[in-house]
Symmetry: C2
Subunit: 232 residues, 2 copies
């Protein structure tokens, strides 16, 4: 079995965590059917906590449940992906605008530390570190709900990027954009920083959409894997 029986709080919470992790990482690709029985036995619990977790995931928009048919991992259309990035751009630009005047030396240090970490990190960590960098810049804005929404949009889009496209990805370019964004924040150039942030997000969107629309081959490869069974 692929999972180890963790010992923490409730079984439902563990199942939720495990499933969410696997969905957001792309380990379980969009379109995949989630069978309660299989998940239950893989995690060593009964179907009840699995169902509770699935319900929660549905409310989070990560799976879609149809009565008596089961749960399927959702997949965002190109339009939905575009919109997710647009929403991020709107919210994060606003956050940055609020934040820049109050960014402290501490914040800059942490942001730089994250960038340094990102330079050396393995691809699986890029997503989290990238987001950590963004959030570091928004801390003084003190708008947790907005950050949470933006994060949700970020993760929900990122999982659609096929794994091969992540490693060969545009990390250098991203890092350049990060560093110039950080510089603009240091100079308290609100308008410049917001423009840079907007461009940065638009860039990421364009990259994802380019991969998805030009290379349906990769998508197909991911889809076929679901048929073979993922029980190893």
């Amino acid at each position: 079995m692929a999972f180890s029986k963790l010992e923490r709080s409730t079984a439902a919470a563990q199942v939720l965590e495990a499933l969410r992790e696997q969905i957001l990482s792309g380990d379980i690709p969009g379109g995949e059917q989630l069978r309660q029985e299989r998940i239950a036995e893989e995690l060593g619990v009964s179907r009840v906590p699995v169902r509770e977790a699935l319900n929660q995931l549905e409310a989070e928009g990560l799976v879609r449940i149809v009565s008596h048919k089961g749960a399927v991992v959702t997949r965002l259309s190109l339009d939905e992906l575009r919109e997710a990035y647009e929403i991020r751009a709107q919210l994060e630009a606003w956050l940055l605008r609020l934040s820049i005047p109050n960014l402290a030396a501490d914040d800059f240090l942490r942001a730089e530390a994250i960038l340094a970490e990102l330079d050396a990190a393995a691809p699986e960590q890029w997503s989290d570190l990238n987001w950590a960098f963004h959030v570091a810049l928004y801390r003084p804005a003190a708008r947790p709900q907005a950050v949470s929404i933006a994060r949700k949009m970020y993760l929900n889009a990122y999982r659609h990027l096929p794994v091969p496209a992540r490693v060969m990805g545009h990390r250098d370019r991203m890092q350049r954009e990060h560093r110039s964004l950080l510089r603009l924040c240091r100079e308290r150039d609100v308008e410049g920083a917001c423009r840079a942030l907007d461009a940065h997000i638009a860039d990421a969107a364009a990259g994802l959409i380019a991969v998805l629309s030009s290379g349906p081959a990769a998508e197909a490869a991911v889809k076929t894997r679901k048929k073979k069974g993922r029980s190893e």
Copy 2:
């Protein structure tokens, strides 16, 4: 029992719908403990679908579940309420900006019909109609996720407005603001309309916050009711 056994899809979905309705309408006030047993017998189902519904509500942020202690209806702090309105303002201004150039005669007609309906409607319908008006203006933007987020923020804030404050509320003022906003949209005055919308939302926020911070009496009255039991 307060609920009639509806016959539709699954029991869990019915419970979810019923609970969400009651929470968003303010019928079940924030801070209230939700006992599975009671809800189950009131709706004539077992505790299982109730738990599934509660899990979903937790993911929606309407209740908070603590292990082995139960579910409590969440209550937003003043800061959180302020932020919810700010997020609405950001997203809806963006939506309006996208929308105005493409608003058709049809849209204006529908918006006006909603305003007319609002003039005559009972207080319980104000919330839905108010939102329907806003959404009518955003239709050409074709950004369903953003609308959905804004709606969630709207509903989540509105349920905190004590019922007495709703009826004596500022409907006339709201309607004036609605009509001038609509006029600006007709004139394709993007900047003016966005300013008006921003002011409109800020107004609503100020009203709610004024009621909540000046009149903790009403809040206390609501809280005490929870002790008496709501079984009628």
